[in-house]
Symmetry: C2
Subunit: 748 residues, 2 copies
């Protein structure tokens, strides 16, 4: 519900006034309801605790249905907890008791039905938030250093010598960007993703560009994490190397299935891999440093290398841009501030500091020991695997290292599944994405988002043969584009606000923005042909689509605005918007209102669907009937009970059939006007639509309600045998103005 | 509209009586209509003449809309011919004037929109009917003799010697079956397809078996005709032999597209290939016989052959069964009797006699000259091509022969596209197929049928590598199964009727049935492993599916029957069904009626949707609103204008949003009861459905009408951005009892 502006408020008030003025119905019946609308209240978020592994919560019915409660005795109303079958469950199960086993099987595989489940939001303690939110960033250590070395090794041993200075530059970058994000958390305690910060401070297009960067980032997080995880696995089990593409796609499918099914993001189980990975890398670094100390920190000689390129600025810049992918995921905490326990922003900040510290240690440690051990990237085995082999042989510790690496990468990929729908939500909030994504807790919207993510990630993964090295150039561009815009936005933010400490914060953010921009430009330029062009193209395409969506929604909003077309509003009566807490102001005095257009003369202009008071609507109900059976009878009774003119229509393939129908109609008592349309071609939709259209043309001021009896069957395969007609008629009638379609169900 | 039995009629009358007795509404308003329902009358079939090539006719709107007529001046109402744009066209084009070029392009490719077109039926003169209806049978000469020889050649020269006697047997079979079908035409002047004849005389299951035989027949007609046509093409252009599968599938796709687009079946254009083929074969036979007469009818020696099998009964039987495929399509005329000009059955019979004559001449002639020329089937070149090469060399006459053969085969394949939907129609009429196929003139139903046919034919074609020889075993089984059952049915028919000449007719039919049965059994046994098993399996599967469909419809019909559950009907008041011509009889005197159950106490039993008089229905309208805009206003006005209790519902993601909505509501004037549901998870469908379910549980006797404002956009890709909610709610509410869903459109 968007906020109404002054003009809309005034119009709304006047429409309401008109309604009150001309409405013939007494206040009494308008207030009288056969039900108590206040059936219970929806459970508060705090009441619903997510289950152990699942993130979907059951949305219980608002109140225990009285007949159910009476039927099952006592104890019903008490068990409203989320892990109970829930009240609604009992209701539907009672109805569909015959589908017992099949239903339960389907539930087991696909989860509870969509309509009664929603996504839970979680609040995390720091000890859980750290591993869950850092998985993405820390796991980057599994491919960042390797990506760096893979570039330098092109220049042979001479190139590798640059690994330490380049790494130091990256560590500095990490610290600068980390410090920069600390400022963001303070400024945006409700979550400061790149999109929000860039939109807030730089404007719509930079915001969309940042969002595009983020979206490509998430897609590539999945692809790179899976490919890197597969590398960890194939390093240990080289036999699997040939099937890496297939297995990777299967892993993405499992991620998709798990998330469709509703795997939780947080929880002790999801904390374990990150801690295990931290322990694995720290102990690897420790053991390697211990060995190195035995050699007085002399580096082991690298194997002889064939240099294909000379050492140059370009090569070093490339290596820097590749190695900087070790920072991906660093923004996760600033996005997720509201997921922390209070005081959220303070906890988030502490966690961020911890994460940056760990990231620097793991990254620097890895680069250092690779340097000391004189290791060189190989295509068959990851650097981490080589290190582990050298330190531990092939025993339990080696396996632990590889398993922890693979798991933390899997967890990192899973992170994208949480972030992607959120960015879609933010985009939808600003009308840049389909509105369905606004319903963040809506399981279907969520499902659509993660399906898009999975398909995109799988396509990228397959297109690049599941090779991490090929994916890195794409990755860096999107990530650092988002970083740059986000931090530039923060610079503007501080400059505009100039509150306490603004100078210091601005400084940190400016440094971060500048460095990120350097990486972005470096990556974009040096790797343009290697894949960065694709990332840039995606960003451009995304920009195009989102602005088109926005402009469509703008157009629709304009069309939906209340407008004074039917009522001549003297401009002086448009009162300023009253304070929203006050009771509604008395309606403006009945001034020179022009009464609504008389409906006597049907005119083209009455096609417009502008009736906004009940008295303006003239009714005609049309009931298409295929026979006179139980469902038809009910539809006729429904139509007649509306106390508006009713016309029954039957489409007959032949005169004999028409006569037979007419006889039955007379037998029934001929209580309503009937028209039998002969359709010589046995078509039914076309003649009906034509006939209804003719009625509309005859009296364009009428609102024609088409009341369709619809036979509802239990199984979808039975549906093929039936309900095509209601659906087809609905679709055929949809483009026509002022045709309301009503389906009266009859359950078989 | 099925005929009502005595019980149903009595119940209908009593329901009507009850309606009249308790209905509070005065007769006056029930009769008063704001429109004249008799808007024009639907055009008679005779008025609509199909276009030159198209078989779809536009279904015009029932009457020229007055505003349109006024707008375009005079001349509008006169131009109601089918080739004119038509009145409805003008109406829609006026509405969607912005989509000009795109719309016209789409029309050009896909044809006019489905809702205003129907399939035309055609009446044919004999001179057109002969080629159109014989294409299938005569084109069989292109593969029948070859199939025969292909079996015999396995036994080498010794085998080939049997070609003449086996062919004579087949000619006898042709004459016998032809004579048999002449009887059928006389007995079934309204069309006597195998399904009808078998069902009428032998019962339901034999009818279904015959239908199954026909369906496989049609699928294989397409596959075999295409493969044989491709053989004619590759004989002339051997280069194409490698791509035969691909090209064949493309041909099927073209057939599908043409039929979706609505290619006519009859017409001079469609007569040409058959006459060309007849000329080609006759002149081929003539030239070859002339050559042979030059040799005193000595046969040319066949090339030396390697015999892999000895001559035995099995081989000859196999050859007979294969050669009998030259008869496929012989039943076409008896199916299509009503398509002839009057007196239809007499014209059909004459045409059949001509066709049989031509078929015998072409078949016997082909076999004879193959025999004289000492030709042997080859895998690269068809027998017909070999003959043509030998007679004409490679000149124009050769090309003419091959082109005529390919075209007549294409036409034969196209015949199946006319017959397949008709069998589906007949099956649907007896509730053995989805009811949508009942709407024979309905373009969508027609399209579905031919898509099924095309896909099945393409699958078979590809599975058998497009080789005619591999498809023949499957073909013979289905065709002769249908023949056997149809003619056995005729035997029973004559025996039952015993009218004039019954003995003679029975004799003819019995001979036909017996011979067909021999072929069927021979084909089924000798070719079981070569593919006949697949045909038999298909028949069994078909039988299973159709009987399941029937039993489902039976169940639904039972559920839909009017039943005296709410009204206690004393058995003596069930009056016998009055004559249908009489005016409705006076309602039975108000006897000991039990009034309908009081709605005071909500009870489980009120879930049943059994209200069949208006006074039994208690209303509550629920209007879900997402905001207060033009579309919402219209939905609210619509709801209130129904003069029944209305409850507006808004789902808010947060308390702030709820408050904002509530303020706007007060500003509007709070004319209706409002309930704001807070959905902490931003889900919208689940809370709404839950809430509506709760309302239903509170008062199960109420019929709850959910009135959804639906924003209708022009393009489908815009629809992604909008209408998901109405559709999803409709689907979610569908399983619930007594929930009526109404969509109030708002066109942007």
């Amino acid at each position: 519900m968007p906020k109404l502006d002054a003009e809309q408020s005034a119009l709304l008030r006047q429409v309401g006034h008109e309604w009150g003025r001309v409405s013939a119905a007494p206040e009494a019946w308008r207030r009288a309801l056969p039900v108590d609308p206040e059936v219970g209240s929806y459970p508060e978020p705090a009441q619903i605790v997510p289950a152990r592994f699942g993130r979907f919560v059951r949305v219980p019915a608002l109140r225990e249905p009285p007949s159910q409660a009476a039927g099952t005795g006592e104890g019903g109303p008490g068990g409203g907890g989320p892990e109970e079958p829930g009240t609604e469950e009992a209701g539907t199960e009672g109805a569909a008791v015959t589908g017992g086993f099949g239903l339960r099987l389907r539930r087991a595989v696909l989860g509870a039905p969509l309509k009664s489940t929603a996504i839970a939001r979680e609040r995390m303690r720091k000890i859980v938030a750290l591993p869950v939110l850092s998985a993405d960033a820390l796991s980057s250590v599994a491919y960042g250093p390797e990506a760096l070395l893979a570039v330098l090794v092109l220049a042979g041993t001479a190139g590798l010598r640059y690994s330490v200075p380049v790494s130091l530059a990256i560590v500095f970058l990490m610290l600068a960007v980390g410090a920069s994000y600390r400022q963001t958390i303070r400024a945006y305690p409700h979550g400061g993703g790149s999109y929000i910060v860039a939109t807030d401070n730089l404007g719509r297009v930079p915001g969309l560009v940042a969002a595009a960067g983020l979206m490509t980032d998430y897609i590539l997080t999945v692809a790179v994490s899976v490919s890197s995880g597969m590398a960890a696995v194939t390093s240990a089990i080289p036999r699997l190397a040939d099937d890496v593409v297939l297995i990777g796609v299967l892993v993405i499918a499992v991620l998709l299935a798990g998330n469709l099914r509703g795997v939780r993001q947080a929880g002790a189980l999801f904390a374990a891999p990150t801690y295990a990975f931290i322990i694995a890398i720290l102990s690897l670094v420790g053991v390697a440093l211990y060995h190195a100390s035995g050699r007085d920190f002399h580096t082991v000689a690298t194997p002889p290398l064939h240099a294909t390129e000379g050492v140059g600025v370009l090569l070093v810049a490339k290596a820097f841009a590749s190695g900087a992918t070790a920072m991906t995921g660093i923004e996760a905490i600033s996005n997720a501030v509201p997921a922390f326990q209070p005081v959220a922003w303070r906890n988030a900040r502490t966690t961020l500091t911890w994460m940056i510290g760990l990231l620097v240690v793991l990254f620097a440690g890895t680069v250092a020991i690779v340097h000391f051990e004189g290791l060189v990237p190989e295509s068959q085995e990851t650097i981490l695997s080589q290190l582990a082999h050298r330190s531990y042989g092939s025993g339990g510790m080696y396996v632990f290292t590889q398993v922890a690496t693979a798991l933390v990468l899997l967890l990192a990929a899973n992170t994208a599944y949480n972030d992607f729908p959120r960015v879609l939500f933010l985009l939808a909030r600003d009308d840049h994405a389909p509105r369905i994504f606004l319903r963040l807790g809506d399981r279907l919207a969520f499902s659509n988002g993660i399906i898009v993510l999975s398909v995109a990630a799988a396509v990228v993964y397959v297109a690049f043969d599941g090779r991490t090295a090929s994916l890195i150039p794409l990755y860096a561009v999107g990530v650092f584009l988002a970083f740059t815009l986000s931090q530039s936005g923060m610079v503007v933010h501080w400059w505009r606000g100039r509150d306490r400490h603004w100078r210091k914060s601005l400084c940190f953010n400016a440094t971060g923005a500048l460095l990120s921009a350097v990486v972005f430009i470096t990556a974009g330029v040096t790797k343009f042909t290697a894949g960065a062009w694709l990332a840039i193209l995606t960003v451009a395409l995304f920009l195009l689509v989102t602005t088109r969506i926005r402009s469509h929604y703008d157009k629709v909003r304009e069309a939906l605005r209340l407008h004074p077309q039917m009522i001549e509003i003297p401009s002086r009566t448009i009162a300023p918007l009253p304070g929203t807490e006050e009771p509604p102001p008395p309606p403006p005095p009945p001034g020179p209102w022009v009464p609504s257009v008389s409906t006597g003369a049907p005119g083209k202009e009455r096609d417009a669907e502008t009736e906004d008071t009940p008295e303006e609507i003239r009714h005609l109900s049309v009931v298409p009937l295929e026979g006179l059976h139980q469902a038809s009878m009910r539809a006729l009774a429904y139509a007649a009970s509306l106390q508006q003119p009713v016309l029954a229509v039957h489409v007959s393939p032949s005169d004999e059939d028409a006569e037979r129908f007419h006889d039955a109609w007379l037998l029934w008592g001929d209580h309503l006007p009937l028209r039998v349309v002969i359709s010589p071609y046995r078509a039914i939709v076309a003649p009906l639509v034509s006939y209804i259209e003719s009625l509309h043309h005859q009296r364009p001021d009428l609102t024609v309600t088409v009341i369709l009896p619809e036979i509802v069957v239990r199984h979808w395969w039975h549906r093929i045998l039936h309900s095509y007609l209601a659906g087809r008629l609905r679709r055929a009638l949809r483009p026509l103005p002022k045709i309301v379609v009503t389906t009266v169900p009859f359950h078989v």
